[in-house]
Symmetry: C2
Subunit: 476 residues, 2 copies
């Protein structure tokens, strides 16, 4: 084992072995522990919950996640991509359910059929922890909740939530992977001149479940992410390995609050999701809906991510986002890739590694936070619009014609490693091109109309073209 991880400490740089404390043993924490362990660093991973591998199911957190290119790459770096793809369920597009229960497929990538993968959170976390445990230089500590930290000195105090016992630790580097309500970030926010924002959306979410059919099969075509887009709100469903579906209803808290009894709920479902009642089952729907309260959704942006060369935050701790692009985990995993590449490049010059990570990564993180916010509108509303579908077809055509030049937004985010900020810039550039083409066509059309109108004495033609052009301009 020692030989195995020593091999990867490369690049001819004399890399000092660091004593790293990873705070948070969720998806990003356990993956980054693996990345660091593989490089030969000594890693102590502190998780405030009990060991998920022996624990009951965590209530209230989303059960499945959409794994795409960025996440896959970070998993591949520690040799876990294939195992997880085999477990995951590929989703090759969105399947839209209309009010009558009719279904329509909108593929993610009509040209090359790339997929995203529905993966169970618990399974993924278990695989990562199992792999981490195999490294002799990675040590896992559960029931260790960070109480306070001196980030300049690398000192931490933990408390065991069950026994109330305190422990102290010291590290060369503290990595905060402790999620949207990060205790490590709370220490960083106190520092002067720190940029920080937390934004809650007025929508909450609540999870329901579609069981397998009597024959033990999936109740719907399982290679799709199912969406019931309803304009101001929506419901989605992702397939699980056990042939159940995790259904998530997203809508304004005011709408949740207006559903007070079984009657309200069934009326609401009969109006907006009639086909889902039979899929979920009436009894189960009522039971699950009233079992938990809707959860809130927060976006967190901040910068910088580091305190000198002593501490850094990654994953949700650095950039929590709303879940509508399926990029929360992927972005957190990509943080691991980016940091690991910087470790490869700069050896153990941690000051430089963390400064460079923070300087370049915040812009991408802010970009995906914004894209995730935008995608809620796309998923719940735009997907049903003719203009959206037209643009999607146009993008597909151009992507097919110019596969290296015209990468549509969704593809660049989910199926490429293009920097998130570049994905947005790229889309803006595409919009600009299309607008220019539109105006040039308009002007040419009117000029031609003026010309031929005069030539053939047919001024109706001029009028007709002019009004078409005005129509087009109004579309802007």
């Amino acid at each position: 084992m020692t030989a195995q991880y020593k091999q990867t400490n490369t690049n001819g740089l004399t890399a000092r072995n660091l004593n790293v404390a990873v705070v948070g043993g969720g998806l990003v924490g356990s993956l980054f522990a693996l990345h660091l362990g593989k490089k030969g660093h000594t890693v102590d991973l502190y998780e405030y919950r009990e060991d998920i591998r022996t624990a009951e199911l965590v209530i209230g957190r989303s059960i499945n996640l959409a794994l795409s290119a960025r996440g896959r790459k970070a998993l591949a770096e520690v040799g876990l991509e294939d195992a997880l793809l085999q477990h995951g369920i590929p989703m090759k597009g969105r399947m839209l359910h209309d009010l009558k229960g009719n279904r329509k497929i909108v593929p993610y990538d009509a040209n090359t059929n790339q997929c995203i993968y529905s993966v169970g959170r618990k399974h993924l976390n278990e695989v990562l922890l199992d792999a981490a445990e195999k490294y002799p230089n990675i040590h896992l500590y559960f029931n260790k909740k960070l109480q306070s930290a001196n980030l300049d000195e690398g000192e931490m105090s933990f408390i065991d939530p069950t026994t109330k016992e305190s422990t102290h630790a010291k590290a060369d580097l503290i990595v905060g992977c402790d999620g949207a309500y990060s205790a490590v970030r709370k220490e960083i926010v106190k520092r002067p001149g720190y940029d920080y924002s937390q934004t809650y959306i007025e929508h909450g979410y609540l999870e329901l479940c579609i069981p397998p059919t009597k024959d033990g099969d999936f109740a719907m075509p399982h290679n799709y992410l199912h969406i019931w887009p309803r304009g101001k709100f929506m419901m989605i469903a992702l397939p699980n390995q056990d042939r159940t579906w995790t259904v998530t209803l997203f809508m304004p808290f005011t709408n949740f609050n207006s559903i007070k009894c079984d009657g309200d709920l069934l009326k609401f479902f009969r109006t907006y999701f009639p086909d889902a009642i039979d899929l979920i089952g009436r009894e189960r729907l009522v039971k699950d809906f009233f079992k938990t309260r809707p959860q809130s959704l927060v976006m967190i942006k901040c910068k910088p991510y580091n305190v000198g060369g002593k501490a850094v935050i990654i994953g949700d701790a650095a950039h929590a986002m709303v879940p509508f692009y399926g990029q929360g985990m992927n972005a957190g995993f990509e943080d691991c890739t980016v940091l690991t590449e910087l470790f490869n490049e700069h050896g153990s010059d941690v000051d430089r590694i963390l400064a460079e990570f923070s300087n370049t990564r915040w812009e991408d993180a802010h970009s995906i936070c914004d894209l995730a916010m935008y995608n809620y509108v796309e998923m719940r509303d735009l997907v049903t619009k003719r203009s959206y579908l037209f643009r999607k077809k146009l993008d597909e055509l151009l992507y097919w014609m110019l596969p290296n030049t015209w990468v549509p937004l969704y593809n660049s985010v989910s199926f490429s490693h293009m920097r998130y900020s570049k994905c947005i810039a790229n889309r803006k550039w595409q919009d600009k091109i299309l607008t220019r083409v539109l105006y040039c066509c308009s002007i040419t059309a009117v000029a031609a109309a003026g010309y031929f109108g005069y030539k053939y004495g047919n001024m109706d033609l001029v009028q007709h073209y002019s009004s078409s052009v005005l129509q087009l301009l109004k579309l802007k």
Copy 2:
């Protein structure tokens, strides 16, 4: 005095007299205490500094402020507008200094010559505190720093920073007017689902001073806000009653840090502000520049502003902004007007008053925060651009032709009481109209060219127009 303030408790509503704690005795706190005192409420004002009327000058905070329409209205409501206008120095426009020392005037309002007023912070605060002290139902407490508060119960603990003595107080309503680093807001931010952001800009500021001439006169024409716009940074100067000028240099911290000695400083000034060296005086420039460190500039946005009917934050505590629109104080004063109008409307239904204030005000506050950020670019860079000056002239013309319809952005912000959010919407509408007009003209021009080109067999004309149109479109 009792009779005087009882009169204003009107509207036929049975207004319960409240016991209000105003935390913060700066400009907004002392003004709002006056507003409340005038309505007959019992007001305890707690200021953590000593009484500014007997204190030494506070170092490092901006000395003078630009009073405009919104601030004037709030002062007028407590009978103080005229006194302060007489003290203030009217500024009817910007006077731009170029690299050669040439000066150019850009009026704020070429049509009606409206002015903003340079007013001293200390003087204004003193006038407000003097006026507050005259009300028997307003009590001023200095050296009371808020330590903690239970906002649901209206309970507060204060500490005297000099004697370390603790005091406790209870109120029906707590009003946080304690500035950008508000202690009241710190209590509110802890509440679940709270939206909060703090953004520091990469520029700092440092204050200098231009003394009067030997004859005791202003060293520059005094009815202008002087600007030295230099693209990436700028210097401004506002006139004071004592015929000095408060000069403020805004620039990136990296530029400040690169000036390490007298030689660096003089070289920098000779390159960018040559005419200012003599105005400030070489010796004074060096002394003042190295006396203090550049201060940082923060923008704070949050919502909601209230905790039920028990607590509310206003002024910088609710919406700190960068100083480039001269609206920080004016926006805080307008908070007082808005709240007072809600008190007039809803009697002492404080729950409703605070909820309505918070629901409507945050959007305006966020708008002026954004405008202030934008205006830095305008002041330091755009003012020197031909396109900016062209648009300004066009706006002036349209404003003159359509005084009720086409109110330019600066006028709507500084010389009207239009909601800040409406000011932005209004400007966007104007931009849209102008873009449409531009495109319609382009299309008409090309159509006409096509027509006449064919008619007279002169296709050069068509080419000429077409290229003009393309030029115009590129401008977008």
